[in-house]
């Protein structure tokens, strides 16, 4: 067997369930890996070694009696440091929040624990999940950003320092870092996963979601964290989530999906300023989807698509200003320059303009729903290129912003590497609450390509 920490979440969970691997041994392997790698990667804001050991011991005893808590029994996970964790500092990548210890877990964290996960620690985030970077580095090249804002979650997964993680996306903060680090990240439909207990950046744009090293692993995590939560009104009217992992395991259904799902290639926007190597990887990925049997066709984005991105930025800045204004009055100098500019400009956007931006949003949602009658999934590059060099920027969310604005689900699956060895991702997006279609296309692509599962040369 491979070193336990290098197993996929699914393989590790299976080994635990069959009694071939204990949660304690899995944790020990992971902690040894962290001791070797973390001083270079800086993925973790806080490690909870003692709590994790205690939990792994308890879960090992339960497993020995055949009592498995759920699909994550004994699996070490990392949680972005904007998710509240009972009794564990949640500093949100900010000096302002240093020392804040929540009394209770975010709903998603509680659901991970209930499913048997071992909460290994809090992963680095950019300041308040915005754009001022964390110390995290890209495991594929330590001189490059891992992306953001879920920087540490993506870096920890790529570096085999956990098997699952939580991130959140307001513009591009799950899909972009996942793509930069060569892992899989899924931004669910708005309302699919509870925001309760996740520090807001912009309420109507924030999407918590799962990250892992394989498509199926992300499906397992999504199944655990998705579903209605009285703490988040946006989740209450949503359809019940299907059993994503079991659906992927159904080979007949998976084969049928390849015959029936239609993949759309947008006519513009996603190719402006695209890095040539990333563009080549994207073209090859689309060719591969076609070879696999998916019906691939060109689609024309609706006319107000670009102005929708202006509307996103206005809503983002206004809501961020509203989140922070009370603290900002007295502690402005403690904010990073990028978030500060967002708050300051958000304060100056006229209220009718904010409402106008929300009208543009309604309009574009309607137009994109119509477009997604002709195809089931859109395929685009996940980022304008590989992870940029340097640690002062986390890269651009331009490819991911549309789906955060719309609230439609999106994911990234690795689709190649540049000559410099940096990963690039294929972004798939689809209709609200049809995450399964994205997972099916991504799983078929992943199975037919060599990119998932490679380890960075640390």
């Amino acid at each position: 067997m491979r070193e336990p920490c290098a197993l996929s979440l699914g393989d590790a969970a299976d080994a635990v369930a069959r009694g071939r691997l204990s949660p304690v041994d899995l944790l020990d392997s992971t902690l040894e890996r962290i001791a070797r790698i973390e001083p270079r990667v800086h993925a973790w804001a806080r490690l909870c070694r003692d709590d994790a050991r205690r939990d792994a011991q308890r879960l090992t005893e339960l497993a020995a009696r055949g009592d498995l808590r759920g699909p994550l029994h004994g699996i070490p996970v990392g949680v972005k440091d904007i998710f509240y964790t009972a009794g564990i500092e949640t500093a949100c990548g900010s000096r302002i929040m240093a020392g804040f210890v929540p009394a209770s877990d975010a709903t998603t964290v509680a659901r991970l624990r209930r499913a048997g996960a071992v909460m290994l620690g809090k992963t680095h985030t950019t300041e308040f999940a915005s754009f001022d970077p964390s110390p995290a580095r890209n495991p594929w090249d330590l001189a490059h950003t891992p992306g953001g804002s879920s920087s540490g979650s993506a870096a920890a997964l790529a570096a085999r320092m956990c098997q699952g993680a939580l991130g959140s996306q307001t513009s591009g903060s799950i899909v972009r870092p996942a793509a930069f680090c060569g892992v899989v990240g899924l931004k669910p439909t708005f309302g699919r996963v509870s925001r309760h207990g996740v520090h807001p950046l912009a309420w109507t744009l924030d999407h918590p979601g799962p990250m892992a090293r394989t498509v199926r692993d992300v499906a397992v995590l999504l199944e655990v964290v998705a579903g209605p939560d009285p703490g988040d009104p946006a989740t209450l009217s949503c359809p019940a989530p299907p059993r994503y992992a079991a659906a992927l395991d159904d080979r007949d259904a998976q084969r049928e999906s390849v015959r029936s799902l239609r993949v759309g290639i947008p006519d513009r926007y996603f190719f402006d300023g695209l890095d040539p190597e990333a563009h080549d990887a994207y073209r090859r990925a689309v060719d591969r989807l076609r070879e696999l049997g998916f019906a691939v066709r060109d689609v024309r984005l609706p006319d107000p698509f670009e102005v929708g991105m202006d509307a996103h930025e206005l809503i983002h800045n206004v809501e961020a200003a509203a989140v922070h204004v009370d603290r900002y009055r007295t502690r402005a100098a403690e904010y990073g320059d990028k978030l500060r500019a967002i708050i300051e400009t958000g304060l100056e956007v006229p209220a009718p303009t904010y409402v106008r931006a929300q009208q543009v949003r309604t309009h574009l949602i309607k137009e994109m729903r119509a477009l997604l009658e002709d195809v089931d999934v859109l395929a685009t590059p996940a980022a304008p290129g590989p992870a940029p060099e340097g640690l002062t920027s986390t890269g651009s969310p331009v490819m991911n912003r549309p789906f955060s604005f719309l609230g439609f689900p999106s994911l990234t699956v690795p689709c190649g590497r540049t000559r410099g060895g940096l990963p690039v991702g294929l972004q798939l997006a689809g209709r609200p609450f049809e995450e399964l279609a994205l997972l099916r296309v991504a799983a078929a692509y992943e199975a037919a390509t060599p990119w998932t599962g490679d380890e960075p040369p640390l």
């Binding site: 206005l314 800045n317 500019a341 967002i342 009208q359 543009v360 309009h363």
Partner: protein, 61 residues
């Protein structure tokens, strides 16, 4: 003091904001002005329901 400056001063006084607006404010504000112009010019009906309306549930939901 021109009208725009006066409005900003009023806003900052009302919200008790600090005088300093940060090193990146001017660049972000230039982008914000362009975005404001773009959304108001958008070919989107003013009768459109804005996103973000309440999501209400019956009492026993």
């Amino acid at each position: 003091m021109d009208r725009d400056t006066s409005r900003v001063v009023e806003l900052r006084t009302l919200l008790a904001l600090p005088d300093e607006r940060g090193a990146l404010f001017d660049d972000e504000m230039a982008r914000t002005r362009r975005r404001i112009d773009a959304v108001h010019r958008a070919a989107v009906s003013h009768n459109t329901e804005p996103a973000g309306a309440p999501r209400l549930q019956p009492r026993d939901a």
